[in-house]
């Protein structure tokens, strides 16, 4: 807090320099300094204490064996033992990794394509466009836990909508209970919610594309499809990155929906479930759970860091 200076207007490296501003008085009064310090300090302490310290705590605990109930003196440090165990012995780990990967691939393909298509269709002057958008956004406000409940009414073998529609009432398929298909059944429900969000992001992205680009392409004789794939889509790169980040994080966070359906067992194992099982489930192995959390952290940093880089390096320049 020593060098309090007022923000100099960032100067773009190229182009005409912005209006010159005179040197301003830089000193802030003592009370102002204090107030500003508190305004920045309190929220930062809250955020760091409850989010980042625990996140670092997960890393530390991943090298330990502990039941989490006793005091800290019970912690036994075992190095990378948890990781070795997870990779070689823990039977639920690899299925969970596989399910998370399927989750990610599914979300990256189905809702992204559907959302993009709908956004392109709606990005024009269209009657009832608002109504269409409202209907398509609606699932976004529902919690995934609730979506789990609502979709069980569709999937239930006992008079569910899907079996009735498919004419399978006599030999009903157990969409949720059959471990070969339940992951996909749940993914359809998750995608149902995710599509609206992707559509929203792309609609905003499409609105931001300079119309003169499209006109220029049209003048050069490009078809609508060509214009979209060669001009519009590449220009929307920032939106594509946001969509990718949002989707990866969503796939890593997935938890609520499988938890309400069957607590994440029998074909619905996910990494997130393996973590929480150690505090609310029957397993009580904080070390092993934390190691799974660290794996989640590592994967998520793989998208968070590039995202931060793109967001804030751009900010510095403009």
């Amino acid at each position: 807090m020593t060098a309090l200076q007022e923000k100099p207007k960032a100067v773009a490296p190229q182009g005409p320099p912005p209006r010159r501003r005179g040197k301003r008085a830089t000193a802030l009064a003592g009370t102002d300094k204090l107030v500003l310090g508190l305004m920045l300090g309190i929220p930062t302490i809250v955020h760091v204490l409850f989010v980042w310290i625990p996140a670092l705590g997960s890393i530390a605990l991943s090298f330990s064996r502990w039941n989490g109930i006793g005091g800290f003196e019970d912690i036994e440090w075992i190095g990378v033992g948890n990781y070795v165990e997870i990779f070689t012995e823990y039977p639920r780990f690899w299925p969970a990794v596989q399910h998370n990967l399927i989750w990610l691939a599914f979300l990256l393909i189905v809702p992204t394509c559907a959302g993009l298509l709908l956004a392109v269709l709606l990005d024009r002057e269209l009657k009832f466009s608002r109504i269409y958008q409202s209907a398509l956004y609606m699932p976004m406000v529902l919690s995934l836990a609730l979506i789990g409940f609502i979709w069980q009414l569709i999937y239930t073998p006992d008079g569910g909508l899907l079996n009735s529609l498919l004419g399978l009432s006599d030999k009903p398929v157990d969409w949720i209970g059959d471990s070969d298909i339940n992951l996909y059944a749940v993914l359809v429900a998750a995608a149902w919610r995710h599509t609206g969000y992707i559509m929203l992001l792309y609609l905003a992205g499409l609105k931001g594309v300079d119309p003169s680009l499209k006109e220029a392409a049209a003048l050069d004789g490009a078809s609508a499809t060509q214009t979209f794939f060669r001009v519009t889509f590449p220009v929307m790169k920032p939106v594509n990155i946001v969509v990718a980040v949002v989707t990866v994080i969503e796939a890593l966070r997935a938890f609520d929906i499988v938890y309400v359906i069957n607590k994440g067992r029998n074909g619905l194992e996910l990494l997130s479930v393996l973590v929480t099982d150690n505090i609310i489930g029957e397993a009580s192995r904080i070390g092993r759970g934390s190691a799974v959390a660290v794996i989640l952290l590592t994967i998520s940093l793989g998208v968070i860091i590039p995202y931060l880089y793109q967001t804030f390096s751009k900010e510095n320049r403009s």
Binding site: R24, L40, I42, T44, V246, R253, T276, I279
Partner: protein, 300 residues
């Protein structure tokens, strides 16, 4: 990711000829919308039917009669008013304090130039993107260590208390709000606060009386969004509250499932009642909701 709210489009009156392409487009969109609404409509339909009706005729049949009985029953058996109240106790303070704290940070980093501005913003932005599971185990243990007076929490610590859930919502959600608000505040002309400063306004006045009122649209958008997110939270409350009686309504659903047995009509009615507040918010404040998501575009 631009920091402008979506503007209402200006209606353009133009004569349009009906082309086959338009008809196909509308047909496709109508069908897609109906498919999107179908799961919810199906739940509504199931919730309006009696157990006797569906157990005899199955769900895929024309209803003999429609009744609101299931809603009354779910309301009562599920003790929903109690759980709504729990949610209210968590959501409203968390929402207000989140906006307050994040607007302070956003004000600081967007109006003053510190060396650590960028780092601070990155910490908040990255924190909001972490999967909750990375945080939850040590947080659960940390909460058992933090002692609070008994009138706040019967357990004597933050675990099993609504205060604990409020705190993690504030900490976690302030990441997103800080990011969005600081982007927005950067678009406010710098001369404005400068003029106020020259006139001798204190830092706090520049924040409270000058900057915040200008941020009203983005605050409204964030409030709408945060309301639905905090309302919809399942994980934090599930892990940090052990006493089922203190759970907010979304997490309490899990217990209600047991209470309702396998009466799907009752489950449908209960689910819809739980969804109702967010649906109302969505239909009334849709522009804010959509605007908020467009502004941030970082949240899953």
């Amino acid at each position: 990711m631009t920091a402008t709210l979506e503007r209402p489009s200006v209606p353009v009156v133009k004569k349009r000829t009906v082309t086959p392409a338009r008809v196909a487009l509308h047909t496709f969109l109508i069908l897609t919308c109906l498919m999107t609404l179908a799961p919810l409509l199906w739940a509504v339909y199931a919730s309006l039917r009696t157990y006797d009706d569906t157990s005899v005729n199955g769900y895929f049949s024309i209803a003999k009669s429609l009744t609101l009985e299931n809603f009354a029953k779910a309301w009562e058996i599920g003790d929903l008013p109690h759980f709504y109240w729990n949610t209210f106790l968590i959501t409203i303070p968390a929402l207000i304090i989140t906006l307050l704290l994040s607007s302070m940070v956003a004000f600081g980093v967007s109006r003053f130039s510190f060396k650590f501005n960028l780092a601070l913003l990155m910490i908040f932005t990255a924190g909001n993107l972490l999967p909750q599971q990375v945080v939850v185990t040590p947080l659960w243990r940390l909460y058992r260590l933090i002692e609070v007076p008994e009138w706040i929490s019967a357990s004597g610590s933050l675990i099993d208390s609504q205060l604990g859930v409020i705190l993690i919502h504030i900490a976690f959600q302030s990441g997103f709000c800080t990011f969005v608000l600081s982007n927005y505040m950067k678009t406010i002309p710098y001369e404005l606060t400068e003029a106020a400063r020259v006139d001798g306004a204190s830092v706090f006045r520049q924040y409270w009386q000058l900057t915040l009122p200008l941020c009203r649209p983005v605050l409204a958008a964030l409030a709408t969004l945060e309301f639905t997110w905090i309302y919809n939270d399942f994980l934090w409350a599930l892990v940090l509250i052990q006493d089922g009686d203190k759970m907010p309504v979304t997490s309490a659903l899990q217990n209600l499932k047991g209470t309702f047995f396998t009466d799907n009509n009752l489950i449908a009615a209960g689910s819809l009642l739980v969804a109702l507040p967010t649906l109302v918010v969505f239909f009334v404040l849709q522009r804010q909701f959509v605007g908020g998501l467009t502004l941030g575009s970082t949240k899953g």
